[in-house]
């Protein structure tokens, strides 16, 4: 199965470990993620003001690239898969907003005269949706190294689950990450704040506020005796992992806890090499606990 893949900006820089582990573990499942030959920033946040059509152009342009891929024979599906929660939300919502309002669609077309006209028929999916559709039993069959005794806390963040209309799961009681991690053989513990905001873009100008919000999540994970927190969003990862120094300044007794992407644990459980798991790019380092559990 070949699926057009939109990685988004941050997966090519700060979250490179998210990108490489995704592509490699997809391959182990027989899914070839074909990166769009040309793509641009999705805009990161959906334009919520009803008259703000201009900010639909960036996400829609990426969907035009998907249609071009199909015309060029690079894929046989009008579908694009994303991994970043913010890209997913932005592409999905711009697509929906353009499709439900012909006037907006016309405006978008008129503002991109040099581009082919967008048909409106590209489907935006999240990688987790593809995994879920493939079935957890099927996925478990690919596992070579079950993550036995690894105690993990899944963290969903906001945009995979909200707004309700664009959720990949039940926003009140999500379970897709739990099901996945259990299929990988891990011991999964739920925390009440599994979908509470990490502080998101306040990390730029309200660092302490972000650190406080992220600390609440990690404190629950620590209380649950987690070896690590598992995330699916590069901005969540930054706030939860890279703001731990700030957290320690505010809460001196705070002990650091590794934060990894779910795709990295997939790559590990599938028996892939360190190129694919890319744990060396995580900070705090998850290696000591993985070694302790006999997984590396």
């Amino acid at each position: 199965m070949k699926i057009p893949y939109y990685p988004g900006c941050t997966l090519k820089t700060n979250a490179r470990n998210f990108d490489v582990s995704t592509v490699a573990s997809a391959k182990a499942l027989g899914i070839e993620l074909v990166e769009l030959p040309r793509w641009n920033c999705c805009g990161t946040v959906h334009a919520l003001a009803k008259d703000d059509v201009m900010h639909y152009l960036a996400p829609i342009r990426n969907l035009i690239r998907v249609e071009q891929m199909k015309e060029e024979g690079l894929t046989d599906m009008k579908k694009v898969v994303t991994q970043c929660a913010m890209c997913y939300n932005t592409l999905k919502r711009a697509n929906a907003a353009a499709n439900e309002d012909q006037e907006k669609m016309e405006k978008i077309r008129n503002n991109m005269e040099k581009e082919p006209e967008y048909s409106g028929r590209v489907e935006v999916v999240h990688f987790l949706e593809i995994l879920e559709k493939g079935g957890w039993e099927e996925l478990a069959r690919v596992v070579k190294k079950p993550l036995a005794d690894l105690r993990v806390v899944p963290y969903y963040g906001c945009l995979l689950l909200r707004p309700r209309e664009f959720s990949i799961d039940d926003p009140d009681n999500p379970r897709v990450l739990k099901d996945l991690l259990e299929a990988l053989g891990a011991e999964v513990v739920d925390i009440p704040f599994k979908a509470k905001c990490c502080g998101a873009y306040h990390t730029v100008h309200l660092k302490e506020v972000t650190a406080e919000l992220s600390h609440r999540v990690l404190a629950q994970a620590a209380e649950a005796g987690a070896d690590m927190l598992v995330t699916a969003c590069p901005l969540c990862e930054f706030n939860l992992a890279r703001r731990q120094g700030e957290m320690r300044k505010m809460h001196p007794s705070f002990e650091s806890i590794p934060v990894v992407y779910y795709s990295q644990l997939m790559a590990l459980a599938f028996g892939l090499d360190e190129e694919a798991t890319a744990f060396q790019e995580n900070d705090p380092d998850p290696m000591p606990v993985l070694v302790e559990r006999g997984l590396i």
Binding site: L48, K50, C197, V204, L206, L213
Partner: protein, 135 residues
């Protein structure tokens, strides 16, 4: 915002209509149950609770534009999944932000960061921050 009560008169209609137009939300649906405020992770940083901002908007009180709350709102949509009346409160917050940003106002600009701070941040944080907080 220091006033104890507000009354709705013809002079309040245009502000209310603008908020409804930009947000696409029917704010009169709100019956002040407070579910949005109880779920909001950022109320400690706000001067008005999200439900109070909605009340201001219902009454067409323009002082809502001077509140910190729309800037503190992080658009996490926790309120959206809780509202029993189906209002997307995040859209109302966006409408209020946009009304201020469109006067060429910047809530935050990147030149307030040191080069080191800027370098460590992922693009996703910088772009979303500026999309929400700068004209």
């Amino acid at each position: 915002m220091s006033k104890l009560y507000y009354t709705y008169g013809p002079e309040n209609a245009s502000f209310k209509a603008k908020v409804e137009e930009l947000s696409g939300e029917n704010i009169d649906l709100c019956f002040q149950c407070g579910a949005c405020s109880s779920g909001c992770p950022l109320t400690e940083e706000m001067d008005l609770l999200p439900s109070t901002v909605i009340r201001h908007a219902q009454l067409g009180v323009e002082e809502a534009l001077e509140s910190k709350t729309p800037w503190v709102c992080i658009t996490c949509f926790d309120c959206e999944i809780r509202c029993p009346r189906g209002i997307d409160i995040a859209n109302v917050m966006e409408a209020l932000r946009q009304m201020v940003l469109r006067t060429k106002y910047d809530r935050f600009t990147l030149d307030q960061l040191t080069p080191e701070e800027l370098r460590e941040l992922p693009q996703i944080a910088i772009i979303s921050n500026q999309r929400k907080l700068s004209a």
